[in-house]
Assembly symmetry: C2
Homo-oligomer: 216 residues x 2
DNA sequence: AGGTTAACGCAACCCGCGTTGCGTTACGCT
DNA sequence: AGCGTAACGCAACGCGGGTTGCGTTAACCT
């Protein structure tokens, strides 16, 4: 698709140089001018690569964002491990908070979400990005279940979502402040809901035979 | 701004007719072609109003969306009243679910959120829209507090957000399915968190002198 | 009824994104 | 070293969104 195919291809010097220049220019343009400022012509001008080359290899601005998302998904993601579910969720929410407020990350996060809204390629990349993060973060809930902090069968993805969704909601929907207090409260709410057994996985995977539901 | 000012103005026949035609065409275009299909020229052609008139009165596509948002905010919003917090939150989440899945509402909801992302006017309108909804929904939590279902001082906005944010998160961030099961689980999680006292309002307004925090 | 003027219609224009066809470079292979 | 070809550079074009200046309509007031 976007990356050079596996046939008789030339991943050699010039191609790689062009690719890196365009990728760097894409991130720079996004950071400076945001999503609606990301145009192929600007990226081409900044990178020194010709406009048509960018259109051929990436297909347009959405393709540039999809490529950046694929790279971001491959980067390591420091899953918190504080010893308690409350602490882990708190740190997890703080990581998301940074993605939505840190001047270096915020434009990228917003651009990724917006690009996914009107580009199938970017949407696929965005969903894959978050799917990977969720499965990496699942270990937080699994450790908590092993410690007995939450009932067996608690859905890790649902706990993570409950902890971070309010931050995205503030940033993209209501426009309310996104700060440490909001992050901590969202994490605490997710922790409380998980402890109360409100986030057990439904249907096909019942808790592996034990107490069906801990008394609240 | 967008609406005709209060000075020596002519809200009379022709102006009102043009306004209604453009508004109807805007909603129709949004429903059919979505957000990125909403162009001033299409709205002008469909409404029979000239292109320049639309630009003058609304300023562009974002202004059309901001106007539609202002109208949507004024429409009545059936706040659930089932007698229990769990039931109210469940129905509230189902209302949001409808806004994100019903073919008649979904394009509008998405367009509103996207327009706010790259237009200050649309952002103001969107934030006002949700601020109004939150304050209307607050009565759900207030009734629950009066019934003793949740601790005094529970933040209504935070409870509502916890119940609905996961749905927006699925729709706009992760691309996971948005269905009744997701709505019910989000509502149940918000209910559990509120009951556990994890959503008491911070700072300036302490609970009006009672138990400072219910033992968990 | 008639005048005033806000609001609208109209035609032409500018600009920038995206596309196309062809010539040029330099990577990879023998 | 020398060839074949994938990948890139280049110039020109089409097209649609957005803007401008001026003429026309019809709402409001006396």
């Amino acid at each position: 698709m976007t990356a050079p195919g596996p046939g008789t291809v030339r991943p050699g010097g010039r191609t790689a140089r062009v690719r890196d220049a365009v990728r760097a220019a894409t991130l720079a343009e996004l950071s400076e001018h945001g999503h609606h400022g990301l145009t192929v012509e600007n990226v081409a001008a900044r990178s020194g690569v010709h406009k048509t080359t960018v259109y051929r290899r990436w297909g347009g601005a959405d393709g540039l964002i999809a490529d950046a998302l694929d790279r971001a998904a491959a980067e390591p993601w420091p899953v918190p491990d504080t010893g308690t579910l409350a602490g882990d969720l708190r740190d997890l929410a703080r990581l998301v908070l940074a993605g939505l407020t840190d001047p270096a990350q915020e434009p990228l996060t917003r651009a990724f979400v917006l690009a996914a809204a009107h580009s199938a390629a970017a949407a696929r990349a965005l969903h894959a990005f978050y799917a990977r993060r969720h499965e990496q973060s699942a270990v937080i809930v699994e450790r908590a279940a092993a410690r007995g902090e939450v009932p067996a069968g608690t859905d890790p993805a649902e706990v993570v979502r409950t902890a971070v969704a309010p931050l995205y909601h503030r940033a993209f929907i209501t426009g309310e402040p996104v700060d440490a207090a909001a992050a901590d409260r969202a994490a605490a709410a997710a922790c409380a809901a998980a402890r109360a057994g409100a986030l057990v996985a439904p249907g096909p995977e019942p808790p592996p035979r034990g107490r069906p539901r801990p008394a609240h």
